[in-house]
């Protein structure tokens, strides 16, 4: 039981962590929390469903194709509900992202219907480890998530494009002075964020069913992960996601399954009270 919960907690946790990482990438670049991130998850799941169930492709290929589609969605999202508003107040951008979230949710309902769907697992069946039955899907999720984290790390730290994206995140005006096309760079960041979150959707869909409101719940848990980990910190987001996933699984099993959701937020508020800047704090103090 313990090992089972541990594995499922870690698997769900890395997914929340990756969604949170997608949000953090956008937050670092444009300073806005993306309230439509959860809906990227839902849309990615539906794209994977389309390729996997409708076209009958292998699940791994479907996930890759879904990731490409999500890149396009990310750019469209950035162009329509962020770029036109970049000079407006933050609350206007938040509200426009909420509008976009409604559009994505309702669009998905019109395209794929409201009935919960499912798709293939990366590997069927389960394995017995130290007396605990563990589904292969959880193992696959952990593996793919680790791979994605490594890839994102290499993309951001070791490649030219990644350096451009980081430079834009640090100072948009300065990077435009040295000749970086800021709009392309921000577009790439949104695309990367949507790709990461979309793949998570495809991985999560076989475990929780795929429906058009799954994004809201996952998105709000990713918010909790970000706050626990510390705003604007990528490793913090992953650790925060793991904490949220483990609290969810263990709290649901040992404390109370009815108050499972409340439990996550109680942990969040306790963190906010005693460590308001999260686990990985920003080094810069607030300026007047």
């Amino acid at each position: 039981m313990f090992i089972q919960l541990l594995i499922s907690g870690i698997a769900v946790g890395v997914i929340y962590g990756l969604i949170a990482m997608g949000m953090v990438l956008i937050f670092r670049t444009v300073g806005i929390m993306n309230f439509a991130q959860g809906d990227f998850l839902m849309f990615g799941g539906y794209f994977a469903y389309t390729f996997n169930q409708m076209f009958g492709l292998n699940i791994v290929i479907s996930l890759i194709l879904a990731a490409l589609c999500m890149g396009v969605i990310g750019v469209i999202f950035m162009r329509t509900s962020y770029w036109a508003l970049r000079k407006a107040q933050a609350k206007a951008i938040i509200v426009s992202a909420m509008g976009a979230s409604i559009v994505l949710r309702e669009g998905a309902r019109h395209i794929w219907g409201a009935i919960p769907l499912t798709l293939d697992r990366v590997k069927e069946g389960s394995v017995v480890l130290a007396g605990a039955t563990i589904q292969w899907q959880y193992v696959a999720i952990i593996g793919i998530a680790l791979l994605m984290m490594l890839l994102v790390y290499f993309l951001l730290e070791k490649t030219f494009i990644g350096n451009i994206m980081q430079a834009t995140a640090q100072d948009q005006y300065m990077s435009s002075l040295v000749g970086i096309p800021v709009v392309v760079s921000i577009g790439l960041t949104f695309a990367l964020s949507a790709v990461i979150t979309g793949i998570c959707g495809g991985l999560l869909a076989p475990i929780f069913f795929l429906n058009n409101t799954m994004g809201t719940m996952a998105g709000s848990k990713a918010f909790a992960a970000i706050v626990i980990g510390g705003f604007g910190s990528v490793p913090g987001a992953i650790i925060g996601g793991l904490i949220v996933g483990l609290v969810e699984q263990f709290g649901g099993a040992y404390i109370s399954s009815t108050y499972q959701l409340a439990l996550i937020y109680i942990v969040l508020i306790v963190f906010l009270m005693f460590r308001p800047k999260g686990l990985f704090q920003e080094k810069i103090q607030e300026k007047a």
């Binding site: 509900s81 426009s96 909420m98 976009a100 309702e106 909790a224 108050y259 969040l268 308001p276």
Partner: protein, 327 residues
């Protein structure tokens, strides 16, 4: 004196228009329309609470629907389980919610800006889970049924029309009080915090206390809205008091404009008309709503009222300039 009068002109005009509307409409339309008007006015109270918090004090909270629920359940409990009258229920809902908001405000406003917003999302979720699972207080998943209507000094609000009048009276009083707040020193300290919290602190404003008071005032408004909702609908379900409802309040105030209670009114009216007007399109309603929100934010980030005001100022300046050049 003259300047002050001029500033309040739109408020007086709109109030007069609304009184006329509320007096005339129930005579000609179905009870369904009257019910929608009551619900819209209740929503307006909640949006007004967002105005106090976001428009005046600059704090973005997603817990308003939760406070609305607390007010509704307090009033519902008093009306159904004890012998307390309507007035007791109303006062208890307002004071109880305000007190709770004040206490929570002290804890939550140690966090700033974004962090506060996230804590409020957490609070909203916890409250919703409580509404579902705390059966003694909220009736659990079945909800709370058969709540008696508003009664005061022998007058009983039995028909939809009389319920509408009660809600409207509460809205008028609340708006008047908020306008008073706007011109008071407390209101000015709210705005100082909104514009620059650090500067407000150094001017001697106790920002933690002031923000908690703003939270309490917004809680009181939500509590009043909740008490009204309990007696208008007669049935309370946890499904009304969700995070989504809180986001709708934010969308409403942003569409109307955060600068004045008129913005709250316009936003509520716009969303209600949109929802009811496109009811025939049912399936595409939400989609149109989402696209509308994005488009409005792109072209009018200050909201309808704020944008209109800017346009009017520009027009006035232009006219003055042309007058000067003519002389």
């Amino acid at each position: 004196m003259l300047a002050r009068k001029k500033r309040n002109t739109p408020v007086i005009v709109i109030t007069a228009f609304l009184i006329l509307l509320i007096a005339v409409v129930p005579q000609f339309t179905s009870t369904y329309t009257v019910r929608i008007l009551s619900v819209a006015l209740i929503n307006y109270l909640c949006v007004l609470s967002v105005y106090v918090l976001l428009g005046l004090c600059g704090q973005n909270s997603f817990a308003q629907a939760g406070f609305w629920g607390i007010g509704a359940y307090i009033a519902g409990n008093i009306l159904t389980k004890t012998f307390g009258g309507s007035l007791t229920a109303f006062v208890a809902a307002v004071c109880g919610t305000a007190f709770l908001a004040f206490i929570l405000g002290f804890a939550f406003f140690r966090l700033r800006q974004y962090y506060f917003t996230f804590a409020s999302i957490g609070l909203m979720t916890i409250l919703n889970v409580l509404f579902i699972n705390w059966v003694d207080f909220s009736g659990g998943a079945l909800g709370m049924k058969e709540i008696p209507t508003f009664q005061l000094f022998g007058f009983s609000a039995d028909s939809e029309t009389s319920k509408l009048y009660v809600v409207f009276a509460v809205c008028l009083v609340a708006t008047f009080l908020i306008l008073l707040l706007f011109h008071s020193s407390l209101g000015r300290s709210f705005m100082a915090i909104r514009d620059n919290e650090m500067a407000a602190d150094s001017m001697g404003i106790n920002s933690l206390l002031t923000k908690s008071i703003a939270f309490a005032i917004s809680g009181a408004l939500c509590g009043a809205a909740g008490a009204m909702w309990a007696s208008v609908s007669g049935y309370l379900s946890y499904q009304s008091f969700t995070y989504n409802q809180s986001t709708i309040y934010l969308v409403m105030i942003m569409i109307g404009g955060t600068g004045s209670p008129i913005g709250a009114l316009i936003g509520t009216a716009a969303i209600t008309i949109l929802q009811e007007g496109f009811r025939s399109l049912q399936d595409y309603m939400q989609l149109i709503y989402g696209i509308g929100v994005i488009i409005l934010m792109i072209f009018q980030p200050e909201g309808i009222w704020g944008g209109g005001k800017i346009l009017y100022e520009r027009f006035r300046k232009h006219r003055e300039k042309s007058k000067v050049s003519a002389v």
